[in-house]
Amino acid sequence: MKKIHVSTRVNGDEADFVCAPDETLLDALRDRLGLTGAKEGCGTGDCGACSVTLNGRLVCSCLVLAAEAEGAEIGTVEGIADGDKLHVLQQSFLDHAALQCGICTPGILVASKALLEKHPEPTDEEVRYWLAGNLCRCTGYDKIIRAVQDAAQKLRSA
């Protein structure tokens, strides 16, 4: 199987890798670029642990071919904080204890950030439906919803 060279941008930085044609963006991020923040919980788009943004659009990186990233802008959990300064959402998740095991947290943060960029003032129901594709088995979602809403409020008043 002939490999493909891909030039892309990840979290604002140029990134190049070589991948197999059937390789997913998730595998390329994790195995080629060493960005293991996105997780594989299912590999079939059902759990959202691999959520990233692709040209600003929230997607499951397990359902994107790595080759499709050519010329694209990818955003991952590793790019949410600004250097050593946490994003409001990250701090809110810590303050509200919105994680237990933390495996779903990267995907939920990426998804929540995409939500608040599009809908700065969501209702609880809108948050819950937006995050319906991000499975969390530990928390029952209660503290996650509170953390997102608190962050939304802080971002609006910032």
Partner: protein, 747 residues
């Protein structure tokens, strides 16, 4: 021991809500989970699995696979020995089938190759000849005399006449005169219930990185609830000395009991040993569902007698559980837990286990209890409806309390069931109005909680900070709790303490993180280690001051003379003692390697409101409140998190989660698409009320909180459905087709 004596105290750190120490790593993507580590020269492994529910392995030919370019090792059970220990042999056979495959997804071979593509090609090239055998996947069918026998020679010694050799385990508990008790009853209700198996559904699939050198020494990185369990089991299977295998637990992406055994670790080690290179093995989600450990499937009969004013006069339950294809004693925990919430004069529970062609059951949060208590709490609720009694009043009237001889023989010490019931009764939720097609359900829950063995080393660093090293993987924030306990005990700020979970070579044995034992037991060990350290620090101060060590006491983070006769010295802080420690006698550390009973049982009460769509049978959960005794909540956020998470899992169990087997014995829903765990939009906010009835077995009063919360939702939801839809289902899950069918049958 005197150190553990409980006295009323004002906590400074315990009960606050600091940010967890591993938090930043987990919100930035830096935290390293099972699949996140790689090694130079690493190979990728894949597992070949049985497509049959039950078959004899006639022949496995791996020769073609071995010749595929990039393939470095292929292993089958022939590459492993036969351990003498039966339980270890079952675990090994579950990792690589010996002789027979016992369920759809049972591993038969594994390969390690330089690429995933080569490994996949190798799997396709392995030739396995199977002789298909008849299978059985239902517990009731498996107990019948003519059922296909899953494993020969494993039957319980006294299987009743006319039952199958699949029956492997039996237990009985209880006391009192049942006949007399039922004679006193005004109402006797006898019902049968059935529940399907569910899965823990952790989001992180099992993953490991194994490396065994030509010298026979091994290293293993894996996501597990117990690195020592992994080491002992793998060393046993691979016939290594435990000392030669170092197991490092990664961050763990959920376990809920499902990571208390091994599935892939011995296989990865065997491949690495054969290939001479590091091997990474990660399960797919499909493999997790088909071949890790779901819960038992259950079939239960319950008979309860009650007076017309709500006093239970006699209670009896028979539990038939199937823990899958190997003998299993979870029925014992179910039989013990069934009537634990009640103070009964006459009670009897009987448990049976039968083998089926399903994967080996592994613990899932309060294993055995949810299905048993579901049946009991459903019957009690039906009796309340029949007699027109308030469900909380009836439970309060019969509730176990301090001094109650439990149905499984233990006499309870201080327990919080009545307090939780009172809290539920007083809560606005219990009296809130309901709309049409809505109903409110209630259930009690119980879990034993465990103590067990753990090791803690607490080192006082020369800069006045403290390092706590412990051996129990943190599955829900325990590093925060342990740091808080150390800070509390030493009288220093939380930020000065860092708790690390160590590998098997860095600290002594610690039992697996299970049984809701970590905050209790590791917390207890931390208190003991801290007290050993403070004693040493007092001794140092005494030495500096030139007074007797027992004339010094530790108060508010400092050594000070104990009373006016000891001498007049200003208090010497931990930081001051630590700074000079290397010149006053050497490094200071406290240790505790110990075992403890006294974990203190845990009770909870759940209230839920639901609405059933009368045209579709769809159930929407409208409101949910959890009341639970935590003894003493160390970090209330994470106590609430356990209460909420267990409730959500129980709601899934009640409504939609189930293992669906086809006629061919193959699992039909091995993915998150059709194994339906609750998503964010399925659930309402889950309110929590922490009740604190101190556990006399712990210096702070702590009891485990991790498991009880999954127990009540099954009956709470069913009881709510019975009121909203006016039909009582006796089968889980209560998926919409079942509810609609029951409603339509009723008309």
């Amino acid at each position: 021991m005197a150190f553990d004596e409980q006295k009323k105290r004002d906590f400074k750190v315990v009960g606050t809500r600091p940010v967890r120490p591993d938090g930043i790593d987990k919100v930035t993507g830096r935290a390293m989970y099972g699949a996140d580590l790689s090694a130079p020269g690493m190979l990728v492994a894949r597992v070949l699995r049985s497509p049959h529910a039950h078959a004899r392995i006639v022949r496995i030919d791996t020769s073609k696979a071995e010749k595929i370019p990039g393939v470095k090792a292929v292993v089958t059970s022939a590459d492993l020995g036969r351990p003498a220990d039966e339980a270890l042999r079952d675990t090994q056979d579950n990792c690589l089938a010996h002789d027979k495959v016992l369920y759809d997804g049972h591993p038969v071979a594994a390969v390690a190759a330089t690429s995933a593509q080569a490994a996949k090609a190798a799997l396709a090239a392995i030739e396995v000849t199977y002789e298909k055998l008849p299978h059985v996947t239902d517990v009731d069918a498996a107990m019948k005399a003519d059922a296909p026998v899953v494993l020969e020679g494993r039957a319980y010694e006294e299987v009743p006449e006319g039952w199958s050799q699949n029956v492997t385990n039996h237990c009985e508990f209880g006391h009192g005169d049942l006949e007399d008790g039922f004679a006193k009853a005004d109402l006797i209700v006898e019902r049968s219930f059935k529940t399907e198996a569910t899965h823990q559904g952790y989001i992180e699939p099992h993953a490991c990185l194994a490396s065994v050198g030509p010298d026979g020494r091994g290293e293993l990185w894996c996501c597990t609830q117990g690195q020592y369990m992994v080491r002992e089991t793998c060393a046993g299977i691979l016939e290594m000395d435990a000392s030669q295998l170092k197991v490092t637990p990664s961050e763990i992406g959920g376990g809920f009991g499902g990571k208390t055994t091994v599935f892939i670790e011995p296989v990865a080690l065997a491949l690495s040993r054969k290939a001479g290179r590091p091997v990474k093995l990660v399960m797919t989600r499909d493999e997790v569902f088909r071949a890790s450990g779901p819960t038992i499937q259950s079939s239960t009969d319950v008979k309860i007698g009650m007076t017309r004013d709500g006093r239970i006069t006699a209670a009896e339950a028979t539990l038939r559980y199937s823990g899958g294809c190997y003998p299993n004693s979870t029925c014992m925990m179910g039989a013990q837990a069934a009537f634990a919430p009640y103070d009964l004069e006459a009670v009897k529970t009987v448990g049976w286990n039968a083998l089926t062609n399903r994967p080996k059951e592994i613990s899932y949060r309060a294993p055995g209890a949810p299905t048993a208590i579901y049946a009991v709490e459903s019957v009690i609720d039906e009796m309340c409806q029949e007699l027109g009694l308030d469900p909380i009043d009836v439970r309060l009237q019969n509730a176990a309390d301090k001094g109650t001889k439990s149905s499984y023989g233990v006499t309870f010490q201080d327990i919080g069931l009545k307090a939780a019931l009172e809290a539920a009764k007083a809560h606005p939720h219990y009296s809130a109005p309901l709309g049409p097609n809505q109903g409110r359900g209630l259930s009690c829950g119980f879990w034993f909680n465990f103590g067990g063995n753990s090791s803690v080393t607490l080192s006082v660093n020369t800069d006045g900070t403290v390092s706590v090293t412990e051996g129990n993987p943190d599955i829900g924030g325990s590093r925060a709790s342990i740091s808080m306990i150390a800070a509390e005990e030493l009288g220093i700020p939380y930020e000065r303490v860092r708790t690390l979970v160590a590998d098997t070579a860095s600290i002594g044995h610690s039992d697996t993180t299970d049984g809701s034992r970590v905050t209790f037991m590791v917390g207890l060990a931390t208190i003991r280690a801290a007290r050993e350290a403070t004693q040493k620090m007092c001794a140092r101060a005494a030495k500096i001051w030139g007074i007797e060590p027992d004339a010094v006491e530790w108060v508010d983070g400092a050594a000070q003379p104990a009373g006016p006769n000891a001498g007049k010295f200003p208090p010497m802080s931990l930081a001051e003692i630590a700074a000079t420690s290397l010149k006053t006698g050497g490094p200071i550390a406290g240790h505790c390697e110990s075992t403890a009973d006294g974990a203190g049982v845990s009770f909870g009460v759940h209230l839920c409101d639901i609405e059933v769509d009368p045209e579709t049978g769809f159930t929407k959960v409208l409101r949910y409140t959890v009341f639970q005794d935590a003894g003493k909540a160390i970090h209330p956020d994470y106590v609430e998190g356990q209460m909420q998470g267990g409730a959500a899992q129980g709601i899934g169990w009640a409504l939609n989660e189930e293992y669906i087997y086809g006629e061919d014995g193959r699992l039909q829903n091995a993915g998150f698409l059709d194994y339906r765990i609750p998503v964010a939009s399925d659930l309402p906010p889950i309110d929590t009320v922490i009740v604190e009835v101190p556990n006399p077995g712990h210096p702070y009063g702590v009891r485990g909180v991790g498991e009880t919360s999954i127990v009540p939702p099954l009956a709470a939801l069913s009881n709510a459905v019975s009121r909203a839809a006016r039909v009582r289902l006796r089968e889980l899950p209560m998926s919409p087709p079942k509810i609609l069918k029951a409603m339509m049958a009723k008309g």
